[in-house]
Symmetry: none
Subunit: 226 residues, 2 copies
Amino acid sequence: MERLKILVVDDESRMRKLVKDFLVKSNYEVVEAEDGGAALDIFFGQKDIALVILDVMMPKVDGWEVCREIRSYSKVPIIMLTAKGDERDELQGFQLGVDEYISKPFSPKILVARVEAILRRTNQVNAEEVIQAGGIQMNKAAHIVLIDGKQIDLSYKEFELLAYFMENKGLALSREKILNSVWNYDYFGDARTIDTHVKKLRSKMGGKGELIKTVWGMGYKFEVND
Amino acid sequence: MERLKILVVDDESRMRKLVKDFLVKSNYEVVEAEDGGAALDIFFGQKDIALVILDVMMPKVDGWEVCREIRSYSKVPIIMLTAKGDERDELQGFQLGVDEYISKPFSPKILVARVEAILRRTNQVNAEEVIQAGGIQMNKAAHIVLIDGKQIDLSYKEFELLAYFMENKGLALSREKILNSVWNYDYFGDARTIDTHVKKLRSKMGGKGELIKTVWGMGYKFEVND
DNA sequence: GCAAATTATGTTAAAATTGTGAAAATTACT
DNA sequence: AGTAATTTTCACAATTTTAACATAATTTGC
């Protein structure tokens, strides 16, 4: 699963940068717009904006207007940044279908917490559970593996095996360890079975297959060269 | 908007945990009490309990007594968990001012739905009722599913199942997870039942049936290809 | 370089899982 | 009660995955 995209609209670039930094740190992708017009262009241009953070006070097209425009076509969650304690604003906003208010000044922590709460509510998607290494992205919840952005099909065991490798990258893993972790503890079959799975995994991974290295006389190791 | 606090009163810790888990997932804050006395202490100690979920059967102070005590001071919404089909209970309860009954065993989904319904009624909290993904529109309140704008008929279970898939789109869902969410928690039947429902669902969904993908060795996944 | 040990690979059989249709059981509706 | 609709179970076919094995290729230590 790809990272969720958040559109941040504010005329102050410092504020945009602040918000962006914290969202990026929390593993979201951020798109910026410096005024209402640009915001609408971007929003309707790309279709995968998961959430919009809107400053109320902006020159020309203000936050309310942007909100109204978006709402007439989309139910995307909207968070509004308002000046402190302006209750009239809040009332107006709820009628427009704003999901959440955050009054300035706010702590970035609060911002991130609210964002996550809303996205959890609407999308039920966890932003955290993506393992990434050497151009491979793995989402365990979705059971998806992307190599250079392209999805590849793995069987259950292959997936588990790759997950184990990625979670222990850089470590030399004996066949015994691998068996005990990826197979059931009561599996007493041939340890060479692992070889077969490694073979298939490598071939399905194309060039990235070389990241699974053979540790002679021992087992295997997933190693990222960087 | 702060999360609403719900007090869950039950002498069985497993039941408390079950209920709590689902409420927390729906973004509520949960406070637990393991008997009537503790419940009253908590309720009158903190003043921001938005809703109370009460088990009828409890040692010492039972649910009715707790309900009576609370009602003499507060109009907070109360949901009662009762044994199945005990009508005398329900009668007694309505006189005491119980807002809603849920008879055990219940599906956690039902619980959350009732909680949201009540809070919406009393608190004017608006939850979005239309889910949309991959050309499928679902109105849970009206129990209507549109595929490419055309309505299709689904049975109750089929509807619930599709709703669960859509609410968890992109996630690989094990049969166990599906059973625990869409079926009652005390359903111990064959997990393969799900397969049959998936089959019917897929066929009723026509071409869109392919959005429900099989995750081999695991379960199913609703995935929108965009 | 050579022999021994170890790993890679292709093939194939066995095992596990899912799809499907039909029957049985349950529930809802007259 | 009787009928229809829904849900569940079951058996078997179809599919996919897994494990095993034989043989080729590679590495290591001498």
